[in-house]
Amino acid sequence: MNATVGPVAINTFREAVRDRVLYNLVLFALLMIGAAILVGEISIGIERLVIINLGLSAISIFGLVMAIFIGVGLVYKEIEKRTLYSLLAKPIRRWQFLVGKFAGLLLTLGVNTIFMTLGLAAALVYVGGHFVRSDASILVAIYFILLEFALVTALAMFFSCFSSPMLSTLFTLGIYITGVFADDIHGIGEFTKNPAVLAITRTLYYLVPNFHNFNAIDTVAHGGAIPFSLVWQNTLYAALYIALLLVAGSAVFSGRNLK
């Protein structure tokens, strides 16, 4: 299978690079440099806190934007531009194509994040002078952010299999926001004690991907540690949900008549 998924993935990565997607790193660098220099003005004593908050939030936001905007075009673009025709003439199954595109975007996001992490580390050293032990948990927080990227990419790509980029973006964003607020929604349901509302909110809670699971920025910024159980639980959750989306997407895409 690597003979089919692999080339598609690498080519997807290559497309992103040639589309100059990685230039967002320049923006990120400017942001971190500016922050590192100015943070001392805000207040002494919380420079590391601010750099970590800003850095992780920026990594998260930049990556999510990329995941959504590139993700919704992953399949759609290939169909519209007809580049898919000659590709599907090769011995590759449609689901292999999907997995390849997914892997390619994930690779792009991964590379992007690595560079950003280096930038964050540099900024931290600049304001703090050295690393402390608790900084290792920053890497865990970044891992969680990567899991988030993977989920959002899978979501966006799923919609890309059958709807236009505009609609796919709306759907994906909508589900993402719902997923971030999932526990609030759940809480509201529990609070009202109205059985109908309760049923709806509960269903929603388990249906929608709970993105708040992956948010460890607050903890990590204050030097807290992340329990290992959370790490593998989140990994499993993400893997299951992504599998779900890929299977559903493959089903939809495999039966689709290309125009």
Binding site: A3, N11, R14, T83, Y85, S86
Partner: protein, 318 residues
Amino acid sequence: MSTPAIEILGLTKDFPVGFWRKRMRRSLDNLTFQVEEGEVFGFLGPNGAGKTTTMKLLMGLIFPTSGTARVRGRSIDDVQMHREIGYLPEQPYFYDYLTARELLDYYARFSNYSKAERRERVGRFLERVGLAAAGNVQLRKFSKGMLQRAGIAQAILHDPAVVILDEPMSGLDPVGRREVRDIILDLKKQGRTVFFSTHILSDAEMLCDRVAVLAGGKLQGVGAPGEIVSMKAHAMEILFEAREGRALPAALAKNATRIGGRCRVEVPEEALYGALEQLRNCEARILSVSPVHPTLEDYFFRLVGSPATSRGLEEISR
């Protein structure tokens, strides 16, 4: 009898049309024919006849409403069958951020070649389609003709037994078309089967062992180009110069066409001597008399009729 290269068995395709997608338009109706191994087979028909639809069905890009097809004995559902096929889509689009070399290399990865083999093949086929100089240019800078050639290269790079080309001559200048013709003949010499669609009928006449004619989603005829057109009776063509001041006989004048100083008229074979007599009587100067070879084009137009009906739309309401 060996397995046919391509067997098309009752292929039918309906498309939903209309805003609510409730009505169906039948774009292919119970198509059945075969392409034998080793032959060059032309697929002819006006725009909208269903040629591209047929090819997309063969390649698994769209799915039949009913019917099936096989390539070298394997069903079109079998994706491994694609190892033996090369396909050039109509108006090929490729990843424009890749260079020609990268594109071919990418597609070559789906066959099991070693790195060295791949490199060698990519170089060889770039050369073959005349793109060796442009190998490292990004496809977005390619002209239509160059894209067409790149498309052909990727279709034959893995030495497939069956090559399916949708309008391979489109967008090419006469030099390019000659090159494609040469490639097709070369493929035939290698024993491969070539199935291509075109509406340049002279190409079909020149290259094909057999042709199928499609119009309105229905198969109109299959056979060697010579068989298909042998139904028309021969006519004779007379080229002459009319004498100044002398009028032509009415019947002749009606059917004659004038180009510069010359006139041309076609008469049925049996009426030839009568016409010559008439021309001599009005002192026209005969330039030449030659038989008119019926062409595929005549057959085509006669068969297909006026442009309006040649669209061949047949709606089946639900």
